[in-house]
């Protein structure tokens, strides 16, 4: 009894220490005048100003967001339709599809990214934004299907029967009854897909055309070249974006506990 409460507290400490404290330290340092990790912190916005003048970073951010946005739209639409198809129909490929859905999650992205690189290059799709969007859709689709399917599990299909008995056509039933009911799942899935896309640094790294870069690639390159607090500044901005995303997700996707 006390053991579990104690575990809860340990977990809190663990989370704070290994995830949130590092993040807070980074946020704090992004406002530090000094380039070295020197204390006490002297308030400064110089790294944000440097950011504002870094046009390479701007286009990288734009690319990141464009790819994330396009791939999120595509994978959410397609993934929801796939989850519905799984729910409603028994077709021959169904079992196969349900098995094939897991590997993209368990195989390291690095390997998949490498495989895609080789393949896209080979068949002439090449590199560039279009290849990145394709890659991100393929990678985030499984998350969408899994999250929407989880929501569908508790869907009472009598609701669809009821709508049809009241005169609603197939499409009216889907749009007015099923999709509104799925909405929390769909929104959570879209946020997941967006996060996955932003996260997929390596894929982007391999698939991007030499001229096109995305934000994670930029950060990575900057880190390799030299570790400047400018990185802390951009990371802080990304964290704020992620926090907004997470608030959206936890608003729609409840889990754990009884409440």
């Amino acid at each position: 009894m006390n053991f579990l409460k104690w575990t809860g507290r340990t977990y809190l400490v663990c989370i704070l220490l290994f995830l949130y404290v590092p993040i807070l330290v980074m946020v704090a340092l992004s406002f530090n005048e000094s380039q070295l990790y020197r204390l006490p912190i002297e308030w400064s916005t110089r790294w944000y100003e440097a950011l504002a003048n870094n046009s390479k970073l701007h286009s990288a951010t734009l690319n990141s967001v464009t790819v994330a946005f396009l791939s999120t739209c595509l994978s959410t639409l397609l993934g929801t339709a796939v989850a519905l198809a799984f729910f409603r129909y028994h077709f021959r490929a169904k079992r196969l599809l349900q098995i094939l859905i897991f590997p993209p999650i368990t195989i390291p992205w690095l390997i998949i990214g490498t495989a895609m690189l080789v393949f896209f290059f080979w068949v002439g799709i090449g590199r560039g934004l279009h290849a990145m969007v394709l890659g991100h859709v393929a990678l985030s689709l499984p998350y969408v299907v899994i999250v929407v399917s989880a929501r569908l599990k508790s869907f009472d299909s009598a609701l669809e029967d009821a709508a049809r008995s009241l005169g609603a056509s197939y499409w009216q039933t889907t749009l007015w009854v099923t999709v509104p009911w799925l909405m929390p799942g769909i929104i959570a899935a879209a946020l997941f897909a967006f996060a996955v896309s932003l996260d997929q640094f390596l894929i982007s790294y391999f698939l991007a055309a030499p001229g096109v870069t995305t934000l994670p690639v930029e950060i990575y390159t900057a880190i390799r070249k030299g570790f400047t607090p400018e990185i802390n500044a951009i990371s802080t901005l990304v964290i704020i974006l992620s926090m907004l995303l997470l608030l959206g997700v936890s608003r729609f996707y409840r889990f754990g506990g009884r409440d």
Partner: protein, 351 residues
């Protein structure tokens, strides 16, 4: 308001026969109960009339028109589901108005019709509630209002009361019957609960293993079951085995009795309803024309309005139903005499 006619409906699911050559006429404006044990095909029949299932053979007509190839949404039916199936993302107003919205009825007309329907089910003023804010009985009423607001030709009810507890169910049985009578809509009601079927319907059809085994009014079927299955499934029946001896029957539990009709085979099963049996402590209190058997009270079940005695007769337990007129009980282990009239003693061949 329409009649429904089904002809020779058959359906298999894999190797399981769900329906086997079922034909029936549902007359206009009546309340029908389809009664049967689980797996008897009653729900399949209802879903076929609704259009959710297609028959392998046979045909369905609504108002004389074949509807076999008309999809659910064009059949103009109202349906109430076991789980209520209220749309959780809509309030009561939007739930009840759904069928009208789909038909493109104007907002003001929708509001008026929804108001009327809610009044009919006694839920005026609940317009803004969400389904999860309603009790079980209220949800059932909303589901009913939603099904009838479009003035469908037929109302289909799929065990709509089975999710309610006993008290609420008794209340809703009366309510549902009242509403059906007020609206005058042809209603088909599926249930496995014989008391619901007896209480509510104008006509009962009893299904067993995909076949329609008997149909008629509740009183008719209850008083004149045509098989042991029906006698046992609709109401309670004491089934006593016996051998025919001339025009009378020698029961295995002892006693020679007269039956309503002439026994048709040498080995028979006699069926006597518990409420048709009188129980006495003294022997010759019953008219001499009555059938009599002797036994000993095992126990009594006190029910408030009535008592059921379990009486040991030979190796069999006979149930006797007695209205609670005085609150007096016959104690367990008392020897008793049971009597019942020959016209209440049905006889079936022993298979």
């Amino acid at each position: 308001m329409a009649s429904v006619s089904v002809q020779n409906l058959s359906k298999k699911f894999g190797s399981t026969v769900a329906l086997d050559q079922v034909s029936f006429e549902f007359e206009d404006g009546k309340f029908f109960a389809l009664l049967g044990p689980s797996g008897s095909g009653k729900t399949t029949l209802l879903r076929m009339i609704a259009g959710f299932e297609n028959p392998d053979q046979g045909s369905i007509q609504i108002d004389g028109k074949v509807v076999d190839h008309i999809p659910v949404e064009k059949r103009d039916i109202g349906m109430v589901f076991q789980s209520y199936a209220l749309f959780p993302n809509m309030d009561v107003q939007a739930n009840v108005g759904f069928g009208l919205r789909v038909r493109g009825i104007s907002a003001s007309e929708t509001k008026r019709l929804v108001g009327e329907a809610l009044e009919l089910v006694r839920l005026s003023g609940f317009d803004d509630r969400r389904p999860h804010q309603l009790s079980g009985g209220q949800r059932q009423r909303v589901a009913l209002a939603r099904a009838i607001v479009t003035k469908p030709r037929v109302l289909l009810l799929d065990e709509p009361l089975s999710a309610l507890d006993r008290t609420l169910r008794l209340e809703m049985e009366i309510e549902l019957k009242r509403i059906q009578r007020d609206v005058g809509i042809t209603t088909i009601f599926v249930t496995h609960d014989q008391e619901e079927a007896l209480t509510m319907s104008d006509q009962i059809g009893i299904l067993n293993e995909g076949q329609l085994v008997q149909h008629g009014s509740p009183v008719d079927i209850y008083e004149n079951p045509q098989s042991v299955f029906v006698a046992r499934f609709l109401g309670e029946a004491n089934l006593l085995k016996g051998q025919v001896d001339g025009s009378s029957v020698n029961l295995e539990v002892g006693g020679t009795i007269q039956t309503r009709s002439k026994p048709a085979s040498p080995l028979v099963i006699c069926s006597i309803r518990p409420e048709k049996i009188s129980i006495h402590k003294e022997k010759n209190i019953a008219p001499s024309s009555s059938n009599q058997i002797a036994g000993r009270v095992n126990e009594h079940i006190f029910n408030g309005t009535s008592l059921t005695y379990l009486v040991q007769c030979g190796d069999q337990v006979v149930r006797v139903f007695v209205q609670n007129l005085s609150g007096e009980l016959i104690a367990p282990n008392t020897p008793v005499h049971l009597s019942f009239r020959p016209e209440d003693t049905l006889v079936f061949p022993d298979a």
